[in-house]
C-alpha cells in the first residue's frame, strides 16, 4: 500500500467512494479526477483495499439462519406451489368472496361444467382397499406409486411417478384408470389454509379458461377432503426442458437462430396470457419451465416450480414467486405486471445464448448502475451482435419503466436488430452441419416477426416441424441446418416433413450506413490499478481493428499478453475480454470513452462460469501515437 496523500479537496469524496450519497455529477467529477491524478488513484486503491480486507475478514464461518419459527408461520411455501399467479392486488377481494361462496361445497370446490377433452365420467365407488390405502397417508407425506386419487366427478388417477416435490406438495405423473393411454400431471397442495384454497381454486378457474397450444391445459381443480389436499389436473407434457437441452449443446449454449425458434411459441403464449383481461402474469419464465415435447409440437410453457424451489435451503431461496436469476426485482416485493415476464423471458434468452445464468435481480438492484454485475451477452459471447445484447439488457432493466412495454415489442426489436438485412434461403445450397455454421451468421438472420395466433388446437394437431428437426439437431444426425429450422417454425407449415435438406443463408446484401459508433484509435496506453494488490502497472491496447461496433486487438498489461475482443457502443461504452491462463480465466473490461478520447473503466476477472473471481481493477488509457 502507498503513502500518497490525496488532494485535499477530494479527500472527503474519496472516503465516500461508494457514492451512496454522491450525486451522479459528483461521481463523474471524482472519476475524472481519479483518472488523471495518481495520488488520489493510489489513495482510492488503498481505501478499496481496506474495505475489501474488512469485508473478507468479517464473514461468518457459520452462516446466520433466520429463525423462521420465531416469525409467524409463513405462507411462503404455498405461494410457490401455484401454477400461475395473479397479477392484480385487486383480485384479493374477489378471492375472499370466492372463499365464502365455496364454504358450503367443500367437496367440489370448483369443477368445469363440461369439458370436451375430458368427458365427465359417472362417479364410481372406490374399492375399499384404495380408500384405506389413502387413509394411511400421513398429513405431509407424498403419495406413493400406485395410489389412486379420485376427483369429485369420478375420474380416478393412478400415481405413476413423482415428478417433483416441495415443501407444500408435489407434482405427480398420473394415469387415468379407465384409459391407460391418458396421462396427466397432477399438482398437489398439502393442507392449504382458506386463503390458499381460494387462490388455488381461483387460479384453476382462470387457467381453465385458457386455451393455447403452448400452455398445458388445466382440466380440474378439486380437493381431497380426507387428505386435506388440493389437486390440479393438467396436461402432462413429455419432453426435455430447455435447461436440459442446453446442456447438450456445443459450449452449452444455443445459437441465436435456434433460440428464437424455440422461444417463438412461448412468446405467443405470453402474449396470449398478457392479453387476458385482467392480464395473467406467469412470473416464473425460465429455461426449466419450457418443455420441448418430442412428439411433434412446439415448446410449451409449464411450471413445475415447487420441485425445484424447495430442494434448496429455504433461507437462501425465499423469492416468493420466480427463480433467482430469472425473477425480476419487483418479484422480491410484489407488484408484478406483464413486464415481469419480459424480464424472465430476456433472462431465459440470456442463458440460452451464453450458457450463463444472469445474476439475481436483487443483487443487481442493490448495486449502483456502474457496478451492475449483469454482463452484456456480447461480452460473454463476442459473436453476438451488440444490438442483440442491448435489446436483452434493456428487457432486463431493473426498473420496469426502462424495459420494453410489451413482449411483442421486445421480440420485434430482437428480430430487427442484427443489421437490417434480409436472409434469403437458397434451397440448393450445400448442407451444413450446425456445429460448423460460423457465428457470423448472427448478422444475417431476420426472423419473421411475431407469429400471429393460429387456431390453437389445429396447429397442435398438425404439428410443427421444429421438434423433429430439433431432435435431429440435438443428436447431430446428418446435416440439418438450424437456420432452416428457425425459418420453418415461423413460416407456413411445410408441404412435407422430409424437408430435412439443409439450407444455408446466402450472402446478404449489406446496406451502407454512416457508422453510429465512435471510432477508436489504433493504440492506447495507460495504467491499470490492481485493486487486490494495490499495484498500478502499465496497460497497452494495440493493433486495434474496429468494424462498426466490434473491436479486436492486442492486450498487454498485468504481466499478461493476449488478443482481446469486444464491442463499442454508440453511446461510447467499451467492453472487451481477454482470455488468460490458458482460457481458465477471462479478464472483462468495461469502460467509457471520455471527452478527449481517453477511456476509463473497470476490470473484473471471471472464472469459466462467468463468475467474478474477486480480482478487479480500475484502468484508464489514452490514445497512443
Amino acid at each position: 500500500m502507498n503513502d500518497f496523500m490525496p488532494c485535499p479537496q477530494w479527500e472527503e469524496n474519496l472516503a465516500a467512494l461508494y457514492a451512496v450519497d454522491l450525486s451522479s455529477l459528483e461521481q463523474k467529477a471524482l472519476n475524472a479526477h481519479i483518472a488523471s491524478c495518481q495520488a488520489c488513484a493510489a489513495v482510492l486503491a488503498d481505501y478499496q483495499n481496506v474495505d475489501a480486507l474488512i469485508r473478507s475478514a468479517l464473514v461468518f464461518k457459520r452462516p446466520l439462519q433466520l429463525r423462521e419459527d420465531l416469525l409467524r408461520p409463513a405462507s411462503l411455501s404455498i405461494h410457490n406451489a401455484l401454477v400461475f399467479k395473479r397479477p392484480l392486488q385487486l383480485w384479493e377481494d374477489m378471492m375472499v368472496s370466492e372463499t365464502h361462496k365455496m364454504k358450503d361445497t367443500p367437496d367440489t370446490l370448483w369443477q368445469p361444467e363440461h369439458h370436451t377433452d375430458l368427458p365427465d365420467k359417472a362417479p364410481t365407488m372406490l374399492p375399499a382397499s384404495s380408500s384405506l390405502m389413502l387413509d394411511t397417508v400421513s398429513m405431509h407425506e407424498a403419495l406413493s406409486v400406485g395410489d389412486i386419487i379420485q376427483d369429485p366427478a369420478g375420474g380416478r388417477y393412478v400415481i405413476e411417478t413423482l415428478l417433483g416435490e416441495g415443501g407444500s406438495g408435489a407434482v405427480y405423473l398420473v394415469r387415468d384408470q379407465s384409459d391407460s393411454q391418458q396421462r396427466f400431471a397432477l399438482k398437489e397442495v398439502i393442507n392449504p389454509d382458506k386463503h390458499d384454497r381460494a387462490r388455488f381454486t381461483f387460479e384453476g378457474q382462470v387457467l381453465w379458461r385458457l386455451e393455447h397450444r403452448a400452455l398445458p391445459r388445466v382440466y380440474r381443480v378439486f380437493e381431497n377432503d380426507k387428505l386435506k389436499r388440493f389437486y390440479m389436473l393438467m396436461d402432462y407434457i413429455e419432453g426435455p426442458n430447455l435447461e436440459a437441452l442446453q446442456k447438450e449443446q456445443p459450449e452449452q449454449r444455443f445459437p441465436f437462430a435456434l433460440s428464437l425458434a424455440l422461444l417463438a411459441p412461448i412468446i405467443d403464449a405470453l402474449n396470449y396470457l398478457h392479453r387476458q383481461d385482467p392480464p395473467i402474469v406467469h412470473r416464473d419464465v425460465k429455461p426449466a419451465n419450457i418443455i420441448v415435447p418430442m412428439k411433434g409440437e412446439g415448446a410449451v410453457l409449464v411450471d413445475f416450480g415447487i420441485a425445484k424451489e424447495f430442494v434448496e435451503d429455504k433461507t437462501t431461496n425465499v423469492i416468493r414467486h420466480g427463480s433467482p436469476g430469472y425473477a425480476a426485482p419487483e418479484q422480491y416485493g410484489g407488484g408484478t405486471n406483464p413486464q415481469t415476464d419480459l424480464y424472465g423471458l430476456a433472462a431465459t434468452m440470456y442463458t440460452m445464448l451464453t450458457g450463463v445464468i444472469p445474476p439475481d435481480a436483487i443483487t443487481r438492484a442493490t448495486r449502483s448502475k456502474s457496478l451492475d454485475p449483469l454482463r452484456p451477452v456480447n461480452l460473454l459471447v463476442p459473436a453476438i451482435p451488440l444490438e442483440v445484447a442491448e435489446v436483452i439488457k434493456r428487457a432486463m432493466s431493473i426498473s420496469i419503466d426502462d424495459r420494453f412495454q410489451t413482449i411483442e415489442q421486445f421480440w420485434q426489436e430482437l428480430h430487427g436488430t442484427p443489421t437490417r438485412e434480409r436472409i434469403e434461403v437458397a434451397p440448393t445450397m450445400p448442407s451444413l452441419g450446425p456445429r460448423s455454421l460460423p457465428e457470423q451468421s448472427w448478422k444475417k438472420i431476420t426472423m419473421p416477426p411475431l407469429q400471429r395466433e393460429r387456431p390453437e388446437r389445429e396447429a397442435r394437431r398438425r404439428g410443427i416441424l421444429l421438434p423433429v428437426l430439433l431432435a435431429l439437431f440435438i443428436s447431430v444426425v446428418g446435416a440439418v441446418s438450424f437456420l432452416g429450422v428457425a425459418l420453418k417454425y415461423g413460416g407456413p407449415p411445410p408441404a412435407s416433413s422430409t424437408a430435412a435438406p439443409s439450407k444455408t443463408p446466402s450472402i446478404p446484401t449489406s446496406t451502407v450506413t454512416v457508422s453510429p459508433f465512435p471510432q477508436l484509435a489504433t493504440s492506447y496506453a495507460g495504467t491499470i490499478l490492481d485493486l487486490l494488490s494495490g499495484q498500478k502497472t502499465p496497460l497497452f491496447l494495440t493493433n486495434i481493428k474496429q468494424s462498426q461496433g466490434t473491436i479486436q486487438g492486442s492486450f498487454q498489461g498485468l504481466g499478461l499478453v493476449g488478443p482481446f475482443k469486444g464491442t463499442v457502443s454508440a453511446t461510447g461504452s467499451v467492453h472487451f475480454t481477454v482470455s488468460v491462463y490458458g482460457g481458465t480465466e477471462t479478464l472483462a473490461f468495461e469502460g467509457t470513452i471520455k471527452i478527449g478520447g481517453d477511456i476509463v473503466g473497470t476490470m473484473d476477472a471471471l472464472d469459466p462460469n462467468g463468475n467474478q473471481t474477486g480480482e478487479s481493477g480500475v484502468w484508464n488509457v489514452g490514445p497512443h501515437p
Binding site: E12, L14, I319, Y332, I398, E615
Partner: protein
C-alpha cells in the same frame, strides 16, 4: 444497503417493509436476506467474535420483526435496523467486563493460528483485520463499519450514530488511514503473508 437515490430499489424495500409491517413474514425474510451480510459483518466488526455476533444478529432481526410496526417512515428502515444492531452491540459490550467493544480474549486465543502457512493464511489475515479494527477509536470504527459493511450513506451513518454529517466524513477518511496503519504495523509484527495476490 439500498441506495436512496436508486428509486426503484428503494421502492422495492419500502414495499417490503410495508408488507412486513402487515406481518407478511415472507417479505420480512426477503428484508433479512438483503441485510444479513451487512448486519452480520457490522456486528462481527463491532464485537470481534463470531459467536457473539451471531447471537446479536439473530436478536437484531428478531427485534426488528417485533418492533417493525413502530417504524413510521418505511424509507428509514436501513438506518433503523442498524441502530437496533448497534444498540444490541453496545448493551453486549457493557455487560462484558472492561467495557471494550471487542473480545480480546478471543483474538488472543486465535493468534496461535497466525503463523501457520497455507490456507490458514486467510484465517490469519481475517484475525489481523479484526485485531486492527479493535485498535480504532469506537466512533471511527463504527462509522467505517457502517459504510463498509452496511453501505450506509453518510446521512444514514449520522442518523445511526447521532454524529453530525460533517464529522462522519472526517471520521471515515480518518478511520481508513488509522486502520491501514494499524493493519500494516500488525502485519509487519506478525510477519504474515497477508495479501496473497500482492506479489503476483
Amino acid at each position: 444497503m439500498l441506495r436512496s437515490e436508486d428509486n426503484s430499489t428503494a421502492t422495492v424495500q419500502a414495499r417490503l417493509v410495508e408488507l412486513a409491517q402487515a406481518r407478511d413474514s415472507a417479505a420480512f425474510t426477503t428484508l433479512y436476506l438483503l441485510h444479513t451480510t451487512g448486519i452480520c459483518g457490522y456486528l462481527l466488526g463491532l464485537v470481534g467474535n463470531e459467536e457473539d455476533a451471531h447471537d446479536l444478529a439473530q436478536q437484531a432481526f428478531l427485534q426488528a420483526w417485533q418492533k417493525l410496526s413502530g417504524l413510521h417512515d418505511v424509507a428509514r428502515f436501513t438506518p433503523w435496523l442498524y441502530a437496533i444492531a448497534r444498540n444490541l452491540a453496545h448493551d453486549h459490550s457493557r455487560r462484558k467486563k472492561g467495557a471494550s467493544w471487542s473480545s480480546w480474549e478471543h483474538l488472543e486465543e486465535s493468534q496461535a493460528d497466525v503463523s501457520e502457512p497455507g490456507p490458514e493464511d486467510q484465517v490469519a489475515q481475517a484475525e489481523l483485520v479484526r485485531l486492527a479494527l479493535t485498535t480504532l477509536p469506537p466512533k471511527l470504527r463504527d462509522c467505517l463499519l457502517l459504510q463498509v459493511e452496511g453501505k450506509l450513506s453518510r446521512r444514514e451513518i449520522a442518523e445511526v450514530t447521532g454524529l453530525g454529517e460533517k464529522s462522519v466524513s472526517v471520521y471515515l477518511s480518518g478511520a481508513r488511514k488509522a486502520f491501514l496503519q494499524a493493519y500494516q504495523r500488525l502485519e509487519h509484527e506478525q510477519d504474515v503473508p497477508g495479501r496473497r495476490n500482492a506479489d503476483q
